[in-house]
Symmetry: C2
Subunit: 409 residues, 2 copies
């Protein structure tokens, strides 16, 4: 049998019926159907507070909308954070209802002219990913008569050790190689665009606090070096994010207090050149991932050649990452539980499979759970980030699941 | 650098501009926007004809709708095939417009009662995946007063060697273990349900013709054994599919003529017990995969640390499998071409990356192509099956791509 990932702290010590935002899992399913994503907003708020308590005063918190663009969640989160980061014109159109353009930034390779223009018109900061993109944005500024707000996304010559996805230190489609950034900064300033600063994103989903501390320090140092080499002070430096959350057995959470304390020291010592620079940290998964639970009902319980399968009415069409098919090399189990039997003895060896007619649709592979019968509800945790929108929801033509935000006001 | 997969025969020998269904790739993009999926129906028709020419008379051809449920494609394909296989109530609702219920079968684990009832009411054959599901279907038949049409999906005690996805020969969420099938068949017949036969699916995406021949022979033998042990002749035996198509360098097509010839021998020798049984082969990918081309425009061409990236306006949100994130262990390149330069010398080492802000979004990894500039169109082949609906199309909020069926009438 294989281990399951750690159940997030808000749910780990529950006994009996799984409660989410004060309501039983079965009640959520009864009210909204199965499968359903339930997001407990109190947990998002708690993460924001944890961040604020740990980080130096003045460090801004941005929400990376791509982690979960569910509109009620974004609307509720927007007032708690200092900025929203979007990755497409679609996300931009959504968030303009919740945040002023000046507090929104737009990163991502392959921005089309129409996307650049939407951002320029909305007064959004464009994190430009290449010299070519910068020039297209400047041209759009000239054509529209609106000075574009431009920051340069940097492909740093450092990488975030232990990050789930490395995004720096190598050839990359993201950002401009650090050594070419000073020339581009000068070109942007000379163009008459509004110079907004630097976006330096070295990796994501890292659980090694020391690596995060080291990377933040190196990122601030890189920003200082680029400021000096370009002769232009960045009004803002987006330090990226990279704070991971535990998904798999053996994972442990990042120590935000320690990271904040180290960053405080780094910023205190940053020198005059970056004295007026505002720093931001951009988080998606860390803010919302653990707030979400995916609930799905057991439709069949079947034996085959000595193994037991719980067939549920959800599947990889809503939970691609949990099925091990999105960005993971080795398939490992997300945290999973039988919602009616939290804390009960686990003595039933099963695999939890989805309702799709493909062997890929396996949500938990050979795990030991309390015994579940047909009709019982299974909970897959860490469903708050990169869940529904990061899954092939149209695959095999099943209905869309409900999403519910609880506790937002 | 890494190899790319073989361009399908209909496109491989083209020179100059890529033509799809008699129209230039750039014209398709100009007419429908970028990115766009273009399906050339003449290629689907040719596959159907290839199947008919190769297979013994009387062997039925079913289309597995999940491979591509695009409505105009299903509508055009339905009259050419003998049956449609669906995997959800959503697919069922779609195809009832094109095919009588008696020519539709519904397979898949985790069918809910509402799905079973929809199938019973439509007179669709249910390939039941477990004893429990069979009993639920029988109960629905009693409640509605309509005898359900039931076939048993068998988890065979054999597997398709070399198949991309193994679905037999082991513990499986699909079907009923062969050794338990006779008892279930007798139970179904005794219940008053309409007994429809057996569905035996041993694997998919196999390119080894010998393995397919061997598996078909073993499947017919298994059907005969189950008929004898159950004392009930199956009116139909669905032999599954499993015919693969080349995706990666070194892949070669299956030899349908040889498979058909071998199956002919097997069926001629099948003995009296299966003398009146109708045989069907169920194909998805093989019928429609090569008919589709995904066209996407280059938005940026950028250098980073000695590598060149073509950033396109498509990505893994439409082409998850081509990005290596769906069911593949080792990432390999799908066939890809610069649409305006078919047959031109390849001397530009590039990676083709999508517009999503994630390192996973790579459509071609370190390949050598003719030189492409911003504005050029890149073609990803084998986009006719498991493309758009098998991808996380909502990820990052980009607009839906167009789909076009060409040459259908």
């Amino acid at each position: 049998m294989k281990p399951i990932g750690p159940i997030p702290p808000a749910f780990a010590d529950q006994e009996g019926t799984l409660m989410i935002a004060g309501r039983a899992a079965e009640a959520w399913v009864a009210a909204h159907g199965s499968p359903v994503f339930v997001y407990d907003f109190a947990l998002v708020r708690a993460q924001v507070e944890r961040f604020r308590a740990a980080m130096p005063a003045g460090v801004r918190l941005h929400y990376a909308v791509k982690a979960n663009p569910y509109a009620p969640l974004v609307r509720a989160t927007a007032p708690l954070v200092d900025g929203l980061d979007v990755a497409s014109a679609g996300e931009l159109a959504e968030v303009l209802a919740y945040k002023h353009g000046a507090a929104i930034s737009f990163a991502g390779p392959g921005k089309r002219d129409a996307e650049l223009e939407a951002a320029v018109r909305a007064g959004v900061t464009l994190n430009v990913e290449s010299e070519g993109e910068a020039r297209r944005a400047v041209a759009i500024g000239e054509r529209t008569g609106i000075a574009p707000r431009l920051a340069v996304r940097v492909n740093p010559d450092l990488e975030l050790r232990g990050s789930g996805m490395k995004m720096g230190g190598r050839a990359s489609p993201f950002g401009v190689d650090a050594e070419r950034v000073p020339a581009l900064v000068r070109e942007i300033v000379a163009s008459g665009a509004e110079w907004r600063g630097l976006h330096i994103f070295a990796g994501s989903q890292a659980l090694d606090s020391d690596a995060l501390i080291e990377t933040q320090a190196a990122t601030v140092a890189l920003a200082a070096r680029l400021a000096e080499e370009s002769g232009r002070v960045p009004p803002m430096v987006n330090l990226g994010g990279g704070f991971g959350i535990p998904h798999f057995a053996g994972d442990t959470p990042v120590d935000v207090a320690r990271i904040g304390s180290a960053l405080s020291g780094v910023l205190d010592a940053r020198g005059a050149l970056l004295g007026d620079t505002v720093f931001a940290i951009e988080l998606g998964r860390w803010l919302v991932g653990e707030a979400g639970v995916y609930l799905t009902r057991v439709v069949d319980r079947k034996e085959s050649r000595g193994e037991t399968f719980l067939v549920v009415d959800g599947g990889l069409h809503h939970q691609l990452a949990a099925s091990g098919n999105f960005g993971t090399v080795v398939r490992r189990n997300y945290p999973v539980a039988v919602a009616g039997q939290m804390g009960a003895p686990a003595n039933d060896a099963v695999s939890v499979v989805g309702c799709l007619c493909t062997p890929l649709d396996r949500l938990a592979d050979r795990v030991v759970l309390p015994r579940a019968e047909v009709g019982d509800v299974v909970a897959i945790f860490i469903a708050g980030a990169y869940g529904l929108t990061a899954s092939p929801s149209a695959f095999l033509g099943h209905p869309a699941p409900a999403e519910v935000l609880a506790g937002a006001s």
